[in-house]
């Protein structure tokens, strides 16, 4: 029986050099003619190597070897460390994305004059304002905020406002005090301005909004239509009309800017005091176009006085079919809306 049935070809060079245990190889060679022949060849080759002349290697060879030896050692790949780092990066990126998407991306700000302040930073020509940040102008400064892709808001001097949200479906500013001029080109109900006395809901428009610290102020619409709302009370303000705002009462009754001074003063008094004399003055001074004011008064006067307002509108312009006096006096929503849609053709 042969002790070693595996050839030892791969160990012959080491056997010649004495680098391995010779007993096993010697026993195999005693029994294997093939390996004995290969052993003889290896011995001849090793002897020939010893008789070769020694030649100096070119410097370039040694230099290339040295440069490899001097190169920083490539770190070995640790899958656990890599996995931890990757997971951490994903978590951080996801959190950052959530924060941005929850509130929105910053808006661009242009300094129009002076040095407006965004947060704690003075900006001169351009900057950015993020959700949650305040932007403020002094007596000598003004700024324009680019509201995403839907328009812009100009802050007049002595104005302070905070960016609340910059999401695609909700672009919102809170006006603490001062005056802004908004110009929005977008589908309705994407841009909102909160004040202490109510929220202006853009319906596709251009308007100015002035507010005092206590929330009282004035909105003037130059294009389109704005809805000013608070606690279920709504004023629809079309182009060419204005609406006062009051801290405790919310949006006032809208009126056209070309209405008579008598009507404007009486309306101011009525919104403050609900005076019957003031109501009488409004009704007497009203024109066809002032049905904007009268329509809003329908839901703001007492039931006992509502008939007077209805009757005045009916004198100024024909009541459309489907709008009955009883339904109007009962403030039927559908009837009031239908009448408003018709009255709008006279505004």
């Amino acid at each position: 029986m042969r002790i070693f049935n595996r050839h030892v070809s791969d160990r012959l060079a080491a056997y010649v050099e004495g680098a391995i245990d010779a007993n096993l190889v010697r026993r195999h060679l005693a029994q294997c003619e093939r390996c004995r022949a290969e052993y003889a060849d290896v011995q001849k080759g090793m002897a020939a190597l010893e008789n070769l002349p020694v030649v100096e290697a070119p410097a370039s060879v040694w230099n290339s070897i040295e440069s490899v030896l001097d190169a920083p050692k490539r770190p070995t790949f640790n899958p656990w460390k890599f996995g931890f780092a990757l997971s951490s990066a994903v978590i951080v990126a996801s959190f950052a994305y959530w924060i941005v998407m929850r509130s929105g991306a910053p808006w661009d700000v242009d300094g129009l004059s002076g040095s407006p302040v965004v947060g704690t930073r003075h900006i001169s020509r351009a900057g950015r304002v993020a959700p949650g940040e305040w932007i403020e102008t002094d007596a000598r400064s003004s700024a324009r905020i680019k509201i995403g892709h839907i328009g812009s808001v100009v802050l007049a001097p002595n104005t302070r406002a905070r960016v609340v949200a910059t999401r695609p479906q909700e672009n919102r500013i809170a006006l603490a005090h001062g005056e802004i001029h908004a110009e929005i080109s977008a589908p309705p109900r994407l841009f909102f301005v909160d004040t202490a006395s109510g929220t202006a809901v853009d319906l596709g428009c251009e308007y100015s909004l002035y507010a005092e610290e206590d929330g009282s102020g004035l909105m003037r619409v130059t294009r389109g239509w704005v809805s000013f709302q608070r606690n279920g009370r709504e004023s629809l303000v079309p182009a060419g009309a204005s609406c006062r705002t009051r801290t405790h009462a919310g949006p006032g009754t809208p009126y056209f800017d070309d209405a008579s001074d008598i009507l404007k003063r009486a309306l101011d008094t009525f919104d403050e005091t609900s005076s019957l004399d003031a109501l009488g003055a409004i009704l007497s001074a009203s024109r066809v176009r002032d049905t904007l004011t009268l329509w809003h008064l329908l839901s703001r006067v007492s039931a006992a006085d509502r008939g007077r307002v209805y009757d005045r509108i009916a004198v100024l312009t024909p009541v459309p079919a489907g709008v009955s006096r009883d339904r109007v006096l009962s403030l039927d929503r559908e009837t009031l809306t239908r009448w408003k849609d018709e009255l709008a053709w006279t505004w």
Partner: protein, 149 residues
């Protein structure tokens, strides 16, 4: 104010009598955000099939003594029979907008003067037929001679 009340009543009577006519209003009357920047909105009243009516508009003007004309694109709003006209005429000179409508066998026309603050409702004229060239010229002349608000 009396003229506006009379004009409004005339329009209402025409509409109730079934006559095909135009009514003009500010852009918000169209109740559509698309009309926000329009010069004015108008609707075709008394037309039994508004979707089949044919409405055209043109701007006629006098700019530095020279007569000018331009065809306007009438934008139909979502509500049938409601349209908007957008300013594509120049800011210089004085202009009137001429509306023309066909609804089956009936026709209607209107001349709407444009002033510095927009369309001049009180000076607008309405017809149960297309406006004649003489009527357009007369409106323009009145506008140039100071008939604007």
């Amino acid at each position: 104010m009396l003229r506006i009340a009379v004009a409004t009543s005339v329009l209402a009577v025409l509409a109730m009598a079934g006559g095909f006519t135009f009514e003009i209003g500010s852009p918000v009357a169209a109740q559509a955000p698309a009309a926000k920047t329009a010069a004015f909105a108008f609707r075709a009243r008394g037309c039994s099939e508004p979707s089949k009516s044919q409405i055209t508009a043109g701007a006629e003007g006098i700019v530095r003594g020279t007569r000018r004309s331009t065809v306007l694109n009438v934008a139909a709003m979502e509500k049938p029979g409601v349209y908007a006209v957008f300013q594509t005429w120049g800011d210089e000179g004085r202009w009137v907008i001429v509306l023309k409508g066909v609804c089956g066998p009936e026709t209607a026309g209107a001349i709407v003067p444009i002033g510095p603050k927009g369309f001049i409702r009180e000076s607008a004229k309405f017809f149960s037929r297309p406006a004649t060239a003489a009527e357009v010229d007369a409106s323009l002349k009145s506008l140039v001679e100071g008939g604007s608000k």
